[in-house]
Structure formats: C-alpha cells, structure tokens
C-alpha cells in the first residue's frame, strides 16, 4: 500500500517536473523566436519548430508517468 502512494507521488513529480522543464525551455525559445519574427516574418515556420522542440521533454514525462501508473496494482 505504501508503495502505491510512493508511485503516485513519482507519477505526479514526473509530470510536474517535465512540464516545468518544458515551460522553462519554451519560455526562452519563444521569446527569441518572437524577436526573430519581428525582424523577419518569414521566420515564423522555423520559429514554431524551435518553439515546440522542448515539448518532447514533457512527452517523455507523460510516457514514463503512464508506465509508472501501470505499476499501481490493477490501475
């Protein structure tokens, strides 16, 4: 039983921390991308690409969290 609580905590931490990391990274990239776009509107496409790159971090988190969730008995 105690393990289940720990696993649930781990799931929450995984999601929260990866989301934070993504947000942090996107903040930096997003600001720079908007700055670049102000100079040259054609950079929108490339800007989006760089902007959403860090999302992979939270997706890893999502996948890991989900695998962890599976370890809680029968969930």
């Amino acid at each position: 039983m105690a393990d289940e609580g720990l696993i649930a905590m781990a799931v929450a931490l995984t999601m929260a921390l990866t989301a934070l990391a993504t947000a942090w990274a996107e903040k930096v990239v997003g600001a720079a991308a908007v700055g670049a776009m102000a100079e040259n509107e054609k950079l929108f496409g490339k800007g989006i690409v760089f902007m959403v790159l860090p999302e992979t971090i939270v997706l890893f988190g999502f996948a890991m969290a989900f695998l962890l969730l599976g370890k809680i008995g029968g969930a």
Binding site: I48, L53, T56, L59, F60, F62, A63, F66
Partner: protein
C-alpha cells in the same frame, strides 16, 4: 505532384523600339519569372526605365498624398471607376484638395492662437481691471498670475502694496525693488506668473470677443472638413483604383531596369513553367522582330544564384496545404514537394488528437463557411480549409474510434456515474467504440497507435529522403536506408512487446483478452507483416530484445557508419523522434479530460441529477428551467473554449510533427517562390 513544376529558361531579345510592346504582353501573360540582369559588361548595361516612368511616379506620389489627406485606406472596396485620362483627373483632384487642405491648416493655426489668447485673458477677465492699468508705471511693478489659494500677510514683505484678488487669479502692485521678494513670498500659494496680454480695454470684453471669434472659426473648419469629406465620398474609390493602376504602370515602366540592353536592342532573361512554353511562343508569334529562345532546365544554367524558381503544382484539395509548406520553407526546385504528404497526414493527426464527432462537425461547418467568407484572403481561406479536413477526420475518429460527441461518450464505463448518449437519447447505441480515451487500456492503445503513426510517418520521410538524395549523392541516399532499417528495428521491438502472444490462443488469461481487443493490435500488431516478426530474442534487463530488431538495427547502424559517420552517433535520437508522436495520445487524452471536466460541472444544471443517480438512471431536463438555460449557456461557452484551444493545440502539434520529425528527414527548402512578372494583380481584379 510530388515534384515542383519543371522550369525552362527563356530569353527574349529584340530591338528597343519593340520593348514597350514586349513588356505589355509579358505583363499580361503572367508567365515569366524575371531574372535581373547584372551589369558586369560595359557593352550590355541595365536598361533605362520607359520615358513615362518619372511622370507616372510623380502622379503616384501626388495620389498618395491625396489618399493621406482623404484618409482613404487600402481596404476600401474599389468599384469599377473609369480611370481614363488618369493624369488630368489626379491633377484636378490634387489642386482642389490642396486648396481645402491648406485652408484647414490655416484655420487650425488660427484656432491655436485664439486658444492661447483665451487662456491668457482668463485671469485678467476675472480680476476686472482694464488692461491699460497694468502698464506705464515707473516705480511700480505689477505682479500678475494664477494662484491656488487666497493670499494673506503680504504686509510682511511689502508694506506698501495694492492687491486685487479674484478666484484663482491675483494682481499685486508693489514698488519695483520689492517685486522679486513678493514673487518669492507668493510661491507657496501656488502662484504662477502670467504675461499681460496685448490690447487695451476691458479684458472681459476682449475675452468674449476672442471666444466669439473662436466659434466662428470652428464653424469655418467644419465647413472645410465637410467639403473634404464630400471629396472623399466622391473620390475614395477612384483613388484606390487609380493608385492600383499607377502601380501597375510603374511596374511596367521600370521593368527595363531588370533587362539587359545594348544601344539598340534588349534581352529579357527569365524562367517559364516548361508546360507553358507553347503559350509564350504563341504570344510572340505575332511579333516577328522578337527572338525567343528557350532552354530546358538542367542544361548548365544552374550555377549558384541561378536556380530556377519553384512553382508548386498540387492538385485539388492538396493545393490548400501549400501555404503550410511555404510557411516552413519553399522547396528547392529539384527536391520533392512535401505538400501532398502533409495533405494526407496532417488532417489524420489532427483528427486523432481532437477525436470528437461533435467538435468535428463544428469544425467542418466553420471551416466550410469561413473559407468561403475569407476567399479574398488566400492564406486565411486555406487555413480554414485545413480546419475543415481536420474536422472531417475528427468526426470520423470521434464516431468510430472514440465514440464521443462533445466529450460525452456513447457508453460511459460501468458504474462511473457519467452521463452518456445512451442515457440521454434513451436508446442503446448499437456501436461500441474500441477506445475510451480516459481509461488506461485506451491510453495504452493510443500510445501504441502513436508508435505505428511514427513509424509510418518517419518511414515515409526516409523513403522520400532516399529519392531526393539519389540524384545528388548515392552515399547519402544509402544513409536513409540505414535509418529506415533502424526505424524498422525499433518498430519490431514495440510490435513484439505489444502483440497478442502466441500462447494466448490456448489461454484464458484476462491480459490476452485486453491485448487482442486493442485497435492497434487488430489493425497492425496482430496482422502481417508485423505479426511475422519472430518473437525469439535476447533477454536483457527484464526485456526481450528480438533478434530481428537487433539485426535490423545493427545492419542499419553499419550502413550509417559507412555512409554518414556523424549520423551513427545520433541513432538514439530516432527513438526520441518516435516518442515525440506520443503527443497524439497526450493531446487526445488532455482534451478529453478537459471536456469531461466541463461536462461534470455543467451537465447537472441541465439534467435532473437526482433522477439520474438512482436506477434506472433516466435523463430528464432539470425541472428548474432557469438552471437549464444557464447550463446550456455555460456548456456552450465551455465547449467553445475547449474547441478553440483544442484546435490550436492539435493544429500546432500536428504541424510540429510534420515540420520537425518529418521534414527534417528529407526536406532542405530555401527555394525561390515563382512570381511571374505581372502577377501582382490589381486589387480590383483580385
């Protein structure tokens, strides 16, 4: 369709006296993408603009100043106005308008003066002394100004003084030598000195006169403005149309700046879509003096900086996706145009993430009406079309895969206490959709589907990459094969992991049932060719790595080490690319959860909750009609929000999968968009 339109190089040469006719017909044809001539030969120089260029640009400057006075905006709907004898009309309008504009400026300057005078006279009028009373003293100085509070105790600094005070104004007459001390004394009362205005007599009378003057001039200004407004009403359309026409004229008149000319002849260099050469030849057949030479692309004319421009040629609905490709970058002339793949897969990904029949229908309707409404704004209209196709797949998946309309499932899970369509309609929907987004079985199914989607998408990327590279470098082309083998290896791992094991055929283990019922198993993992992959493998860290997978990855890595050594170090990044497709599952689940949350909050307002919670779980309207109305309003707002946010996030995620994961496998971009001479349609025609 997968390649941009082939281009042919074209040279048009002729004597200079034919130049104007040639420009006219090229402009009308809209077929030739001009290549600017660079003057590095003293004999063959850049051409001079046509004679009328300077006159036309003068007119254009005038017209623009007219437009700014009339505050005519470009968005003005231009109607068909006769613009014959443009020059004379512009001149007349210019003279007419300039007169009014100058009158307006004069009146405005006058009004400013009057405002200042009224402001200056204010305090003196309230003091009541004639203006003469402030002037002509030898030993006395008047200290006049505005003041915030009543002044007392002036005796302390100036024993001899005369003071006149009114509300907020003050005049003190003191001996000259005391004046500075008095000013200092007055400062704490909020005193600010004022000059005595010009003129003689009673300031109140002067003030009244100034105010009357002001009113008169305000009325004058209104008259002038009315006249300008009348001119605006009458000429706004003409101005827009004329500006347009003049721009066309200028473009034509200045075109020779892009041509090569010698003393008596000219040469125009450009690109034409190869399929339209005949049309061009036909147009110039009537001009015997003109010599036309065409060269197919790829005949040594592609030195750096002379790459042909790129005209994408997708047919039908795929055309609408070209802007998404161009948003990233225009393809090179000799590489595959990924628009067709975007057209095939973007809406599918989008639909998987939205996955709700209700939202799908709304998107289809919105996409259809808005794309028709914004027909004039091409990109917006195209975007709405993309939403339409995405909505179509959202509808399909919503009906068949998820069984969900506006976040309400066809059948809620047993004992969940959720409202479902079966209860609402009182009719047991005979179709039971295979995936429930918010149950772990459903999520695993979605995650595995993401793996399949990634393999298909990335695999396609490598195949296209192979085709692209084949012409340039066989080595790089083989590297794509290496990557493809590694991708197949990873897919094999997931396939063996997820498929229904063989021993399930004779077992009643509940896990077998779950696995074999997964959509992804029925469609892919339990079907050939994925089912053929032998399960035998190497036990490693609690997992079994199939020999097939190991073999495929090692073979792929081997090819990579030979063909692209740096790439070999990034093999694991391919796994990260595959993981990236789990966003399909992630967004779908998140959207489903948000919709469910709103339904849980607001549905109890609409339905009779008590009745629903007790068997036989009937759904009826809440007897309190006010709650029902409130509930519907809140539901509408909440779902509108989920729809818009969902469309944005699904759109961005879906475009990202294309731009980052897919395009980077083969796409270079950086091509020059084909923009033929004359294609700048005047707004009236567009």
């Amino acid at each position: 369709m997968l390649r941009p339109e082939p281009m042919a190089r074209v040279l048009v040469a002729g004597p200079k006296d034919e130049l104007e006719r040639v420009i006219e017909s090229l402009y009308a044809l809209e077929l030739v993408h001009l290549v600017d001539h660079r003057a590095d030969d003293p004999e063959i120089t850049i051409g001079k603009p046509l004679a009328r260029a300077s006159a036309v640009s003068e007119d254009l400057v005038k017209l623009r100043s007219i437009a700014s006075i009339l505050t005519v905006e470009e968005a003005e709907e231009p109607e068909d106005v006769a613009v014959s004898d443009l020059r004379a009309q512009v001149m007349t309008l210019d003279v007419n308008l300039r007169e009014q504009d100058e009158a307006r400026k004069k009146i405005e300057a006058l009004l400013q003066d009057l405002d200042r005078r009224i402001e200056g006279l204010g305090p003196f009028a309230s003091l009541g002394l004639a203006l003469d009373a402030y002037r002509g003293y030898d030993s006395i100085e008047p200290v006049v100004g505005r003041v915030r509070e009543t002044v007392r105790g002036l005796d302390a600094v100036a024993p001899e003084h005369e003071i006149v005070q009114a509300e907020s104004a003050l005049a003190v007459f003191v001996p000259k030598e005391r004046a500075d001390a008095v000013r200092e004394f007055l400062a704490p009362f909020g005193f600010s000195p004022t000059d005595v205005p010009e003129g003689e007599g009673d300031p109140a009378e002067l003030l009244a006169r100034a105010k009357a003057d002001r009113e008169k001039w305000v009325a004058r200004r209104a008259e002038v403005e009315e006249r300008i407004a009348k001119l605006r009403n009458r000429y706004a359309k003409f101005v827009v149309k004329a500006e347009d026409q003049l721009q066309v004229e200028i473009e034509k008149a200045e075109a020779p700046l892009r041509f090569a000319t010698s003393e008596h002849s000219f040469v125009i260099d450009g690109w034409v879509p190869a399929s339209r050469i005949a049309r061009l030849k036909e147009a110039f057949a009537a001009m015997p003096a003109i010599y036309l030479e065409t060269l197919e692309a790829g005949h040594g004319h592609e030195s750096e900086g002379e790459k042909p421009p790129v005209l994408l040629r997708n047919r039908g609905p795929a055309r609408r996706f070209e802007f998404l490709t161009n948003l990233y970058s225009t393809p090179q002339h000799d590489e595959a145009d990924p628009t067709a793949f975007m057209f095939l897969l973007f809406p599918v990904f989008f639909g998987l993430m939205i996955g709700d029949a209700g939202y799908g229908i709304v998107m289809i309707i919105l996409g259809f009406t808005l794309s028709a409404k914004f027909r004039k704004m091409k990109e917006l209209s195209d975007l709405m079309r993309v939403v339409l196709y995405g909505g179509f797949f959202a509808y399909i998946f919503g009906m068949l895969l998820y069984g969900e309309i506006f976040g309400i499932p066809f059948h809620a899970p047993e004992g969940s206490g959720e409202v479902d369509w079966t209860a609402i309609l009182g009719y047991n929907i005979p179709y039971s959709p295979p995936i429930h987004k918010l149950e772990s079985v459903g999520v695993i199914d979605l995650l595995l589907l993401s793996v399949v989607a990634s393999s298909i998408h990335l695999g396609l990327g490598y195949v296209v990459g192979f085709a692209n590279e084949w012409k340039h470098s066989k080595r790089h082309a083989f590297a794509k094969i290496g990557w493809l083998l590694i991708l197949i290896g990873f897919l094999a791992f997931f396939a063996v992991l997820a498929r229904t094991p063989d021993w399930c055929a004779t077992s009643t283990d509940p896990g077998c049932g779950i696995a074999s019922h997964r959509v992804v198993n029925q469609l892919f993992f339990d079907q050939p060719p994925l089912a053929w992959i032998p399960a035998e493998g190497l036990a490693f860290g609690g997992m079994t790595l199939p020999y097939f997978m190991l073999g495929s990855i090692i073979a792929g890595a081997g090819i990579l080490i030979v063909a692209e050594p740096m790439g070999a170090m990034e093999i694991i990044s391919l796994l990260a690319n595959m993981m990236s497709y789990t966003r399909l599952a992630g967004v779908a689940v998140a959207k489903g959860a948000v919709a469910l949350a709103f339904n849980t909050m607001f549905l109890p307002l609409i339905i009779n909750e008590e009745l629903f919670l007790t068997p036989p779980h009937l759904v009826q309207l809440n007897p309190n009609i006010a709650f029902v109305i409130l509930g519907f309003i809140l539901m509408f707002l909440a779902h509108a929000m989920v729809l818009i946010l969902g469309a944005i996030s699904a759109g961005i995620q879906s475009i990202r999968l294309n731009y980052v994961e897919f395009f980077l496998k083969f796409f270079k971009g950086g091509g020059i968009l084909f923009s033929p001479f004359g294609a700048r349609k005047s707004k009236a025609e567009a």
